[in-house]
């Protein structure tokens, strides 16, 4: 993966939500689901903002203490895993452009207080294959449930 290659989340095939310090990601095409914890969730959020891997490395170097080369290798391997799982794909020219880099990627924490870098982790689960299809949620509101609002008709 070329460090400056922009990527995008592979929506709508992929759905995701960030909870506390983890991101849960589902690939609706095959029913696999993933948890990206801690640094993995941060990388995911950076990808969502349109940052290329090189930019993500800069972000993580500002947040964590650790050799830049080690962080870059970890990010590259993690992004390759996301690509292999089809959770991210290369962005095209028509995709939303990446935001311009701020003067500082994030408030730079002085080196002595930055936590040690931990590699991003992605865990894949295949035990919901065939089940993770959108089960249309019945309309539920104060007027009744299950509630089909339109008038008339029998199947």
């Amino acid at each position: 993966m070329v460090p400056d290659t922009r990527l995008r989340i592979n929506r709508p095939q992929v759905i995701d939500e960030t909870f506390a310090d983890e991101a849960v990601v589902v690939n609706l095409a095959n029913g696999n689901y993933y948890t990206l914890s801690r640094v993995g969730a941060e990388v995911w959020q950076c990808l969502e903002q349109g940052f290329a891997p090189a930019r993500i490395v800069e972000e993580l170097c500002a947040r964590y203490a650790g050799p830049q080369a080690e962080i870059a290798t970890a990010v590259a391997q993690f992004v390759d895993a996301l690509l292999a799982a089809a959770l991210v794909v290369p962005a095209t020219d028509t995709d939303t452009p990446a935001p311009p880099p701020p003067a500082l990627p994030s408030p730079a924490v002085p080196a002595p207080v930055r936590p040690a870098f931990q590699p991003p982790v992605m865990q894949e689960y295949t035990d919901m294959q065939g089940l993770l299809l959108v089960d249309p949620v019945h309309e539920v509101d104060e007027t009744g449930w299950p509630n089909v609002k339109r008038e008339g008709g029998t199947p």
């Binding site: 931990q118 295949t126 509630n147 008339g152």
Partner: protein
């Protein structure tokens, strides 16, 4: 003369569902299974649901309660049920003609299975000049973690617990996840057993909401599994009929160097 068929208790929760309740009940009463107990649990309806239920006379048992939500209604039905097999149907859906004829033998033939789960065919409203004139199949039949597609041995609710009444939607999704985490054996089969009406108002909004519920259910399940293991969440066992690929957990991360563990003698 063969053994007496097992009593199947069918729980139909309803809240202001007068429009389609009669059709739902009729689809249950049309089953060929010899012993049925139909329980309509009315969760405080203010429309004609009660009158519709009572129109079936002694063929159904009607129970009314204050409004507490669909999970509470289902749970009350479970408490009231006397059958050894439990089934469910939402008040605006329909069972296929052969649901119990298919599922009761499947449970009997698979004593290790606690629940059998068939497929749902979704139905979308058909509009004519702004009015719904009927419902038509939408998409291919799907397997879904939906109690309306299931037939369960009663004792599985003792093992897994009742439905979570704090969940106003997807309470059965959550129940199935808890069941799988406990190792409950679910046996899938491909036949359609449910015709499920889908609200046609805003498919995009419903899909987005469904996505959020999907992700929240998975995250809750992962959290429970982490609490149980004290570490990473384990994979759930594959369901019978789900496919031949083994369930797996694959971790993608450069593994940091750790000192070697001391092996026990």
């Amino acid at each position: 003369m063969g053994p007496e068929p097992l009593l199947v208790s069918v729980i139909i929760p309803v809240f202001n569902g007068e429009r389609f309740l009669a059709g739902a009940v009729a689809s249950v009463l049309a089953q060929t299974h010899g012993r049925l107990e139909v329980l309509i649990v009315d969760d405080g309806s203010t429309d004609g649901s009660a009158a519709v239920a009572r129109s079936f006379g002694a063929r159904v048992r009607y129970h009314a309660q204050a409004n507490r939500g669909p999970a509470a209604a289902r749970n009350q039905g479970i408490r009231l049920a006397t059958g050894s097999l439990l089934a469910f149907l939402d008040a605006d859906d329909l069972w296929s003609e052969t649901k119990l004829a298919l599922q009761v033998p499947r449970l009997a033939e698979n004593p290790a299975a606690d629940v059998v789960l068939g497929r749902a065919q979704y139905l979308r409203p058909v509009d004519d000049a702004g009015a719904t004139t009927g419902f038509a199949p939408w998409g291919e039949p799907r397997t879904a973690l939906n109690l309306n597609c299931a037939l369960a041995r009663r004792q599985v609710f003792d093992r897994v617990g009742l439905l979570d009444e704090s969940l106003f939607q997807c309470d059965d999704w959550d129940w199935f996840m808890r069941a799988r985490e406990l190792g409950v054996t679910l046996a899938l089969h491909p036949e359609v057993v449910l015709r499920q009406r889908v609200h046609g108002g805003n498919i995009t909004r419903d899909r987005e909401r469904g996505n959020r519920f999907t992700l929240a259910m998975i995250q809750k399940s992962l959290q429970r599994r982490r609490q149980e293991s004290g570490g990473p969440a384990r994979a759930l066992t594959r369901l019978a009929g789900q496919g031949s690929e083994p369930a797996s957990v694959t971790s993608a991360a450069p593994v940091p160097k750790r000192p070697p563990r001391q092996e026990a003698d």
